[in-house]
Symmetry: C2
Subunit: 214 residues, 2 copies
Amino acid sequence: MKRPSTAAARTVNVTSDKYQRILDAAIEVIANHGFFHSRVSEIAERAGVADGTIYLYFKNKDELLMAAIDSAFHRFIARARAALQEISDPREKLRRIAFLQLEALGTQRSLAIVFQTELRHSAKFLSEFSHNMMVEYFDLIKSVLKEGQEAGVFRAELSVTVAAHCFFGAIDEIVTTWILYDRELERDYHLSSLADPIVDILLKGIETGSKHGH
Amino acid sequence: MKRPSTAAARTVNVTSDKYQRILDAAIEVIANHGFFHSRVSEIAERAGVADGTIYLYFKNKDELLMAAIDSAFHRFIARARAALQEISDPREKLRRIAFLQLEALGTQRSLAIVFQTELRHSAKFLSEFSHNMMVEYFDLIKSVLKEGQEAGVFRAELSVTVAAHCFFGAIDEIVTTWILYDRELERDYHLSSLADPIVDILLKGIETGSKHGH
DNA sequence: TGTGAAAATGAATCGCTGTTCATTGGAGGC
DNA sequence: GCCTCCAATGAACAGCGATTCATTTTCACA
């Protein structure tokens, strides 16, 4: 949370929350045009600040993108971690992770678009990209899988890494299709309603035969 | 396969194959820098033609990207279709699809990079993007799934669409991780060796209980 | 109310690169 | 050998937009 002043944050800044407004504006604009076709001036306008102001908060356009992604991602993963603490069954934990991801992105379409279209790009081509985020999330999934293996609920012979990729990949692909093709304003339809059918397939693929799913 | 002459292709052009050389160069350069940081002049240089020549074959930079993706994709899908004709068991068909995709991208790293980093972007932001390709590939997967359901090998209650997304998503995610993180020159390691573990999970998730996998 | 420092502004700069087009070259027909 | 046609060339153009910075505004404090 850098602020223009190098010293402690001024009270003014805290209330005026320009930093967050810029991040939000960036997500909106980038979702509309894609990162490279987004003009800094449009982001500034949408945030209600001057072009130059953005450079008081961010080193450059690249860093703005990364900060926006980072910020949203950490908000998400914190929520996910908290939610998982209330669950003990590894199968239910997986179900919940799937639900949370689909819910989070399903209710923030612009963010979903930025994640699905810009993340891979950034991960590959921005040297300063924080791969940490992705690692954290994968570790979360892997830890649940391991837990399940140790409890004898998930097949012990599976590679946790491969299983984690299958799990994440399936969800990720559903989100991608949603941002690419689904017209948005079908009110009653929630992306998160797809969590169950997906998890149904994956759990069956991962579980041992002994116990049964639900 | 447009050629500079609006009339029939000249024999000269066929042998000099500039068109294909430009496509190949585009894949290489874009894999190195990402589409937006790729200069047309560098693609031209790599293809051994002048900058202006590219515009005799392609309307603009966007179209060059799309043509490169389209060309590679159709080559792939044609091979996949042919290979599947020799197989009857739907389970083995799925296994083969996974193998072919991992094999094709695992042996063409530059192409893999372009696919994993640029495809979503293009699909979302290039209005002229041919979604047809993706639809074709998904239809191929879906048709195998339906076939399996009708044969009683795959669970009939599953949504073929959701299952197809899980399948594609899992493979896609593995490829993405490979282009992002795996150092390339570990000779004996083939991306395609991951086909079995992945398909193992997904088949178990999709199959009916009656018959068993392999 | 006055003062200084930090924050904010936004017009101007400047580098970059996609695209154009006047010119060149060479192959095929006569 | 000459002529015509068109592919090919690559230097020049033009527009764009990220970034800068001289100036203005805000505000905490005395």
